[in-house]
């Protein structure tokens, strides 16, 4: 038995201080709930800061718009895997949460009449897919940043208690499975503390770092997903990840698709312009899906470049240097900085790059975590770590920030109701999960030989990139499942040389890896099993024939995946095609 662990008590605990966590915290604190927010980094440096595009809402400030049109675009974007009750809820709530944010001091761009300026964005259409509509609200190109600042300031005013530079380690569930809070570690001292509350929300963001090429910041290690999985909560639809075709190989920084528009050519290890074979007419200007598919096929067939043959080259050396300097200055800078290559003289190494996680902890539109038909009492999730599911198989642009606001708020409201109905006094903390968590840290502190953390992480990332990337092959997925389970064994025996107690980043990274590996397994196993193409999950062997257009097989696969950590078991649940009030968006082939 370990020595007594201090217990701190609250009405509500929120893990993660990005957009969703801050929005939920605000709802709770302003309702007078004693609310603690735990974050690995200072709130305004959460990854929400990276969101530039905007937040969508059918305000109709520039031209007519309607939430049912927004809903249609979202369902279509999701390739019909999104739950239509949650999607209706989100699209209806959008104008409210955006106006609220404006009242919190968000510096939205404005029209001359003072209303919020709205700009067009890919996939935003009026009248059920008829023509583009202006729906995206933005604060210059710093929408996420401005949102975090507005929400953080408001939380400070509302007396939310922040625990910055704390890492949550594990969820605590009692013998009935009800959630009692989390075990967390203060980074500065390595002290382990129990945070107990009536209601606990995970708003820990995505886990893009499972891939070797990702646009995600280093902090995006899926901590909430790892904690949920270890606590017996399944993860939903983890095979669905959004990719961008061209990120700098090894770094993940995006190269805009405009480079191909200016004449950039993709080449394989033979120097061949391979797009001529895949898209004889459009060539390098083919659509995102076609380009990604071709790149991955080249790499998979052994024509990748570099010592690991794991990327292709984007060549602009034939362009006039003047054109590169004047039209693509940012790209030259990125290439020199992150690839060590001046694109005037040599081609840029590029690879499809992971950007956003559609799946996550299964919730309903109220933010309540749902397993089977049951709500997990006291447990909530919102934002990229959650799966409501509004993004389904693919997310519509600008719906990520909207997701944070809508489901941050609705989780907060659900938590308030639950806290008010709960007995006043908190029960005794069930110690089984706490002891498992303490043992996990002790294992790392006592392990004197084993796998290097960096080696294990690289093995995981390379496996995910090669076997479960933007375009997937049956045999590669099958091999990938075997490989990722081998990597899991490496993660179980990681060893850190630094055993110190203060800001031990080696230990933190080892603990983060234990979260990432859960996400990696969930992704690989769910992807191997889904024998169709849908949204961002695209398989080589899913045939585009009349019965399964674009490889989508509604007869067999119109259902959500649930991965269970315990035995890597998969189960499936139906997609909710029934909105709350609107008519259902009927199934049809997705084309743009």
């Amino acid at each position: 038995m370990t020595k007594a662990i201090p217990v701190r008590k609250f009405d509500a605990i929120i893990v993660g201080a990005g957009g969703a966590g801050l929005r939920a915290a605000l709802q709770l604190s302003e309702a007078g709930m004693k609310t603690a927010v735990l974050s690995k980094v200072f709130p305004t440096r959460s990854h929400t800061v990276a969101a530039q595009g905007g937040v969508s809402a059918s305000l109709g400030n520039s031209e007519p718009d309607h939430w049912t049109w927004h809903m249609y675009d979202t369902v279509k974007g999701s390739d019909w895997l999104g739950d239509q009750d949650a999607i209706e809820f989100m699209c209806r709530e959008a104008p409210n949460v955006v106006i609220e944010l404006e009242h919190y001091g968000m510096p939205f761009d404005r029209n001359s009449d003072g209303t919020i300026y709205q700009r067009p964005f890919g996939g935003h259409m009026s009248n059920f897919g008829e023509k583009p509509v202006r729906r995206a609200c933005a604060a210059a190109d710093r929408t996420g940043h401005a949102m975090l600042h507005a929400l953080y300031q408001r939380n400070v005013r509302a007396n939310t208690q922040f625990f910055v530079e704390w890492m949550a380690l594990d969820l605590i569930r009692d013998e009935k499975g009800n959630v009692q809070g989390v075990v967390a570690m203060e980074m500065e001292t390595s002290e382990i503390v129990i945070f107990q509350a009536k209601a606990t929300l995970f708003a820990t963001g995505g886990a893009g770092r499972i891939y070797s090429s990702s646009t995600n910041a280093f902090i995006n290690t899926g901590d909430g997903l790892g904690m949920a999985a270890r606590a017996g909560v399944p993860l939903e639809d983890m095979e669905f990840w959004q990719f961008h075709p061209t990120g700098v190989a090894g770094a993940g920084v995006l190269i805009t698709e405009g480079v191909r528009g200016e004449g950039g050519i993709l080449r394989n290890s033979d120097g061949e312009r391979f797009m001529e074979r895949y898209a004889p007419n459009a060539k390098d200007l083919a659509s995102r899906d076609v380009v990604s598919r071709a790149m991955v096929t080249e790499i998979n067939e052994g024509r990748g470049c570099g010592p690991n043959k794991d990327h292709v080259l984007l060549d602009i050396t034939h362009l006039d240097p003047e054109v590169i300097m004047s039209k693509l200055p940012g790209i030259r800078e990125i290439s020199i900085k992150f690839a060590g290559v001046d694109p005037i003289k040599a081609p840029i190494p590029v690879v499809p790059t992971c950007h956003y996680q559609m799946g996550g902890i299964p919730t309903n539109y109220k933010g309540e975590v749902v397993v089977g038909a049951e709500i997990v009492k006291g447990f909530y999730a919102a934002g990229e770590c959650a799966c409501a599911s509004v993004h389904g198989a693919n997310r519509l642009g600008t719906n990520s920030l909207l997701d944070l606001l809508v489901f941050g708020k609705s989780s907060g409201n659900s938590m308030i109701d639950f806290i008010k109905s709960a007995p006043k006094d908190l029960p005794e903390v069930a110690m089984a999960d706490v002891e498992r968590s303490v043992a996990r840290v002790a294992r790392l502190d006592n392990q004197t030989n084993g796998t290097n953390v960096n080696d294990a992480r690289l093995a995981m990332q390379r496996t995910m990139q090669a076997h479960a990337g933007v375009f997937r092959f049956n045999d590669m997925l099958k091999e990938g499942v075997k490989k990722i389970l081998e990597v899991e064994q490496m993660v179980k025996t990681t060893m850190i040389a630094d055993k110190s107690k203060t800001f031990n980043t080696a230990r933190l990274e080892a603990l983060e890896l234990e979260n990432l590996i859960e996400v990696a397994k969930a992704t690989m196993i769910s992807a191997e099993a889904r024998k169709e193409s849908r949204g961002a999950h695209v398989r080589d062997d899913a045939l585009d024939v009349p019965e399964t257009p674009n490889g989508r097989d509604d007869a067999n696969w119109l259902k959500h995946t649930l991965w269970h950590r315990e035995d890597n078991r998969l189960e499936y649940k139906p997609v909710n095609l029934q909105p709350l009030t609107a008519p259902s968006v009927a199934l049809k082939t997705r084309s743009y």
Partner: protein, 88 residues
């Protein structure tokens, strides 16, 4: 500067933007341990900058108005030239 403070600074070099994480990686590993107390104090001030401002300064898109910070930001940019990517 004690060891705890140094480690705290290293942790705070984790940012919300991937580009900054990458820019700071080599600086933190190679240059940070060589800084004196005064220089570390300057770096700590830089870490308080909003991520997008910080990135713009490092990328030379704009100049940090505080000359003392600007000098250190130039060292961060210099430490990083060509430090990432599959080409290396």
């Amino acid at each position: 500067m004690d060891e705890v403070e140094l480690k705290r600074i290293i942790w705070r070099s984790r940012r919300g933007l991937l580009e900054l994480d990458l820019q700071l990686e080599r600086f933190v590993n190679e240059v940070l341990p060589t800084l004196n107390a005064q220089e570390l104090a300057v770096y700590e001030q830089i870490l308080l900058l909003p991520d997008w401002d910080f990135l713009e300064y490092v990328n030379g898109k704009s100049v940090c108005p505080d000359p003392e910070l600007a000098v250190m930001i130039a060292r961060i940019a210099a430490a990083n030239a060509g430090s990432h990517g599959a080409a290396n």
